[in-house]
Every structure is written in structure tokens, then in C-alpha cells.
Subunit: 367 residues, 2 copies
């Protein structure tokens, strides 16, 4: 099979995104943050959350559901906490600010947490959690999302893939970076199987009766048209394989991001006018940091992180397996590879970038 | 089938446990806490963590791995954080103190977190998380545990069932109380299937080559003798159904409870002498609280919690299903039922309590 993917470099890709957002009226410092979050996803191998989503942001700005110069306000503030109202703006700049403030609070009093309401899609959760690393803090970042996931014993998507990301530094080893949706798989995985004409495993998604299915096509149709059914929580349908635990984690994220901040929750996110016009999504996020030496000397912690990782990595392997991973390892290896070899873009995504360049009238010099 | 279970009442059961611990040299206020945590598990229907474990604590005290009058010390303290050394004591009293201090910090600065090292088995995680509720805080409690869970692509148990519990109050509805092991199922579930001679579903446990198995007997033998294999993370073996996510959650708990506090981590917990004598387990815990009005007015939060729960509960059900649950609901119903009808004890557990009464020389007046 010929690899028809276009390879582009991170730096010009980032600069291209910056120009697009600037052209759309986003202030330069904000444009830089949005671009950096997108390209970080491409570098880390999380293609679904990289520039493949640029179209979605351009569209959000044009529809007016993602405000380019929002008024961000602080609703509540204490030494260890705050809640921000994002003013319906692009989510990345306010998320960056919220995480910076959480880190500063951790540096000041030991731990800090900032929730955000009235926001939008913020990109990869791990980006913000990892901002804590250089401050010798443990970072956490969570967001709620479009209601695609079916509660245990439910029939319809009632909450989002609601990811949890936690990052913690190590000494000689790489940081631990967990960044996971609380559904078994994201929607993108169904799209891949659908394109390949392959059945999906039972436990990924349900049909419109709430019954697990192996056919991705109707599930994807239903998700687009809110036709019932949806993705299953981590652990699958019912309780036998722990699906109620994945459902509980999804609710936990929804509660901390949205009920606590005052954002829209459950199936109330991404509301629409009676005539179907999209209204501001009103997503919520949760950011936090714990300062390591507020618990234990940093050097001790990092030495223990190294030993912990090595013990796990060198543990006996299952038959036929060569490697046990620590979370974040695959993504750090992707960053190294893609920094060296370029970022492979799906031809459809490359074509989309070219057409965005034409529409927004910026130069396109990536290929 | 005749129900041969003995029914006992919570109050005398608690008083009995208090007498046992007092007789073993535990100071009365501490004995009361240990007893309350145990009986709370029985009331909530989590039989595996109730008085069925009394024997284990009695044994721990006698072996000297659970110290009855430990020296608890504060290792580090900041406005929002602390780390305590439990001095190898019974875990419940120090956990209670740690959670109280986390709540006080949340009341003072908005959020508070206390880790504990050099501790023991602390009972149900949810008990401590729920202590936050009456203070209008969100509570979190996590612990690491005996290394029974196999990492993704691994062969042997390398970390524990490492539970996560989070509790948040509502208004008219019941609190949200998530209390879940990060493995697909706990060991106790395999024991039940084994007693009934039933095969376990693929995805619960592996044999000693790291391959998923349907036969619980050799898995249980291996877990006892450290013979390889073990329980699988939430999501099962490999990555197809998200097993790497369950593994990541288990590591997250291990990291926050043990690497951050300075306790034993991964397979280093519950160490033994070269001659097989158990040494202090050196478990670690993580407790925390977020004060709700440090993010949003409490009345607003509680009203949103009510609406959020009702939306989920009244959402369309899967074909053949009558009810969508909110986490904690089943346990609150168990408390109501068992407060009214008594706590059903397995005859083996009742016999064990009688024999403990004889050994420790306290009165037994439960049946």
C-alpha cells in the first residue's frame, strides 16, 4: 500500500494555524496558543485532535459560537481555587490561563484548581496537565464534551467522552502522562473501522435500542443526527465488565467540569435553537495542580517515579508480548519521530487546510 | 433455597467490633472509627469490606504489622496540603484524621489534600470521601493495595485494585458517591464464581502466562501464592477494549497515594521477610476536599446536581432495562434496607466473629 500521506513540519504548520486564526480576528497571543495546542496533538500522534479539527474551529468562529475576543471574567476566587467564565470564547486561551492560575496557586499554597464555564472544545486534555511539569507540580485537566456516550442501562448519548489527563514529572525517566477518554473508544475509532468496512468489537457502541452492536455505520449516522444509541463507557454495556465504572468516571468529569463551574452538563451541552442553529456550546473544564514538595521533597519523588516506572516496565510480559508501557511513553516517542520525520497528514486533512487557506486568504506553504 | 444467613443489627455489631479492638489495645476513640468504617461497609452492601475482614485486622494487630498505638507524624504541611506518616498503625484512625485535615484546609483556603504513608488496609474508600458531604465539600479518597492486578501486556500482578472514591452533595437528591476499584472486578468476585463452580467472563483475570482465562480456581491459587497472573484492569486485557485506560487509572492511584506520599508502590507493598514473615505493608492513601462555594454558590451547585441526576435517571432506557442509576444510589438503598431489616451475615463470617469473641475474650451477643 502506498503511503499517500503528506508530510509537514511542526513549525510551519503552527505558523499556518496562527495566520488563519489571526485572519479570523483572534489576537496574536491567543492565536499562538490555539495553534500550539492543535499542533501538539499532531506531534503526539493524536491526529483526531490536531489540525484535522482546524475546520471545526474556523466554522465555530464564523458561526459566532466561538468568540474571538471574549470577555473572560473571574466568578469566584480563593487562595486555592477559582472559577472563570470564558465568555463563549475559543477554549484554548482561557484554558491556558486557567491552568497557569492553578499552577500559581499550587506554588503559593500547595494546590490550586480552576474551573471554567461557558467555554468550547479545548483540544487535547493532556496539553494543559503537562504545563505543570516544568513547575515540579502534578497537573490535572478534564473537560466535558458533546453527549455521545450512553449511561449504563441507557439508550441514548447523555454525556460526553469526558477525558481525564494527569501529568507527573520523573527524574531520568519521562513524565507519566495519562490522557484518556472515559468511553471505551472515541468516535474517531468507529470512523476508522467504518472506512475500512470492518465490524467493531461488541462493547464499543450501541444501536438505537441501546443494544451493543458490531456495525459502526448506523451508530455514526445516529450520532450525527441524534438518532439514539452512542458510544459505550469504558467497560462496555451493563455491569458485568465494569461499564458502570466507566459511566461513573464520565459522570465524575461532567460533575467537576460543569456542575461545579456552572457550565452546561449531561445532554445540555451544544444546545441548538428551535430552528437548528447552533448556540454557544457552554462546555466546562477543570484544571488543577499539586506542588510536589508540598507533600515530599521533589528529588525523592522523582527518584521514586523512576524506580516505579522501571519496575513496571521490566516486569514479566504476557505470552507473546514484548513491552509494558508507561502512560505517555508512546506519545513522547511519536513527538521524537514526528519532529525528525515530519507529521503525516491524511490527504483529506491536507486538502482541507488548503481550502481553509483559500477561504481565509492566507498563504499555504506546507507541502 | 433457604437463606441461612444470620441477621444482625448495625449498632450491636459496631459495639462488638469496638470491644474487640479495645481488648486488643486500640484506644477507644480509634476503636470506634475502625468499627464504624467496617460496619458502614456492611450497611452499604459492600460485604467484602465489612466485618468479614475483622479477622484480618485482628491478625494484623497480633502479627505486629498493624500497630495499635502508632506515632502519627506530620512530614510536610502547607495551607492546602500535608503528608502524614501513619507509623504502621491501623489505617482507619489516621485516614479519618487525614480526611478531617483535608476538609479543614478546604474550608480555610478552598481545597485541601493530605497523603498518608506507612499505613495499612483502610476499609472502603467511600467512607472518607463521604466525610466531606456535611461540610458542603466534594471529597476524594484513594488508596493503593496488594499487587493483584496485571499491567496491560504484563504477566504478573504488579499493582493493586487501587480504588477511587469521590462524593459530592446534592439538594433534594442523594449525594453522588462513586467508589470503584480500578480493576474490572475485585478478587472477591472471583471467589463467588469459584464457589458456585461458574466460569468467569474473559477480561476479569489472567492465568500465569498473562492470558485471559475463564477458570477462577487457578487464578485464586496464584494470587495467594504469588504464582503469576492476576486480575485485569478495567477494560480487560490488551488495548482493544481500553484495558490500558484501567491500567492507567490504577497507576494514577498508585502514584498519588504512594509515590507522592513516600509509601511503598507497585509490587513493593506488603513486603515479607526472607523467611516469609509479613512486614508492615506500608500502604499509601490520598485524601482531598474541594469547598463547593470556593467555585460556585452551594445552592446553585446543589440545584444543578438535582437536575443533572434527574436528567440522567429519566433518560430513555436500553431495551429490557428499567432503570438508570446514579453512583451511590444502590448503596444508599442498601443502608435503608439493612437499617430496617438487619445486616445479613454469611454463616462463615458469623462463625468467625464468634471465634474472634472467644479468642479475644469479649462477649458475643449479636444473634
Amino acid at each position: 500500500m502506498v503511503d499517500v500521506r503528506v508530510r509537514v513540519w511542526a513549525e510551519p504548520l503552527r505558523a499556518f494555524c496562527v495566520r488563519v486564526f489571526e485572519e479570523l480576528g483572534v489576537p496574536s497571543p491567543d492565536a499562538l496558543i490555539v495553534a500550539d495546542v492543535l499542533v501538539a496533538a499532531d506531534l503526539r500522534g493524536v491526529d483526531s485532535h490536531g489540525v484535522a479539527r482546524l475546520r471545526r474551529y474556523v466554522q465555530g468562529v464564523r458561526e459566532g459560537t466561538m468568540i474571538v475576543r471574549p470577555e473572560v471574567t473571574t466568578i469566584v476566587e480563593t487562595p486555592a481555587t477559582a472559577t472563570l467564565d470564558a465568555g463563549g470564547g475559543l477554549a484554548q486561551p482561557v484554558s491556558y490561563e486557567a491552568m497557569e492560575r492553578a499552577i500559581q496557586k499550587a506554588l503559593d499554597v500547595g494546590a490550586g484548581f480552576v474551573t471554567v464555564r461557558n467555554s468550547n472544545h479545548y483540544g487535547i486534555a493532556g496539553y494543559y496537565a503537562m504545563m505543570a511539569l516544568e513547575h515540579d507540580c502534578i497537573g490535572i485537566s478534564m473537560t466535558n464534551a458533546a453527549p455521545l456516550v450512553v449511561p449504563t442501562f441507557g439508550r441514548d448519548g447523555m454525556y460526553g467522552t469526558n477525558p481525564i489527563a494527569v501529568a507527573a514529572p520523573a527524574g531520568e525517566e519521562r513524565p507519566f502522562v495519562l490522557d484518556m477518554a472515559t468511553s471505551t473508544v472515541p468516535r474517531g475509532k468507529l470512523e476508522v473501522y467504518n472506512r475500512q468496512g470492518r465490524p467493531i468489537p461488541l462493547g464499543w457502541a450501541t444501536d438505537d435500542t441501546g443494544t451493543p452492536t458490531t456495525d459502526p455505520a448506523p451508530v455514526l449516522d445516529n450520532l450525527l443526527g441524534s438518532g439514539g444509541g452512542g458510544l459505550l463507557p469504558l467497560g462496555g454495556a451493563g455491569e458485568l465488565m465494569g461499564g458502570h465504572k466507566g459511566y461513573g468516571l464520565g459522570l465524575l468529569v461532567d460533575m467537576m467540569c460543569a456542575v461545579l463551574s456552572g457550565a452546561a452538563y449531561a445532554d445540555l451541552v451544544y444546545p441548538k435553537d428551535p430552528d437548528g442553529t447552533p448556540l454557544p456550546s457552554n462546555l466546562g473544564h477543570f484544571f488543577g495542580a499539586w506542588r510536589i514538595d508540598a507533600f515530599r521533597p521533589v528529588a525523592e519523588f522523582k527518584a521514586a517515579m523512576d524506580d516505579w516506572q522501571r519496575r513496571l516496565r521490566t516486569a514479566p510480559k504476557a505470552e507473546g508480548q514484548a513491552r509494558i508501557y508507561i502512560h505517555g511513553e508512546k506519545e513522547f516517542e511519536a513527538v521524537e519521530r514526528r519532529s525528525r520525520e515530519g507529521i503525516p497528514l491524511n490527504p483529506k486533512v491536507a486538502a482541507d487546510l488548503r481550502s481553509i487557506a483559500e477561504e481565509v486568504v492566507v498563504g499555504y506553504d506546507l507541502e
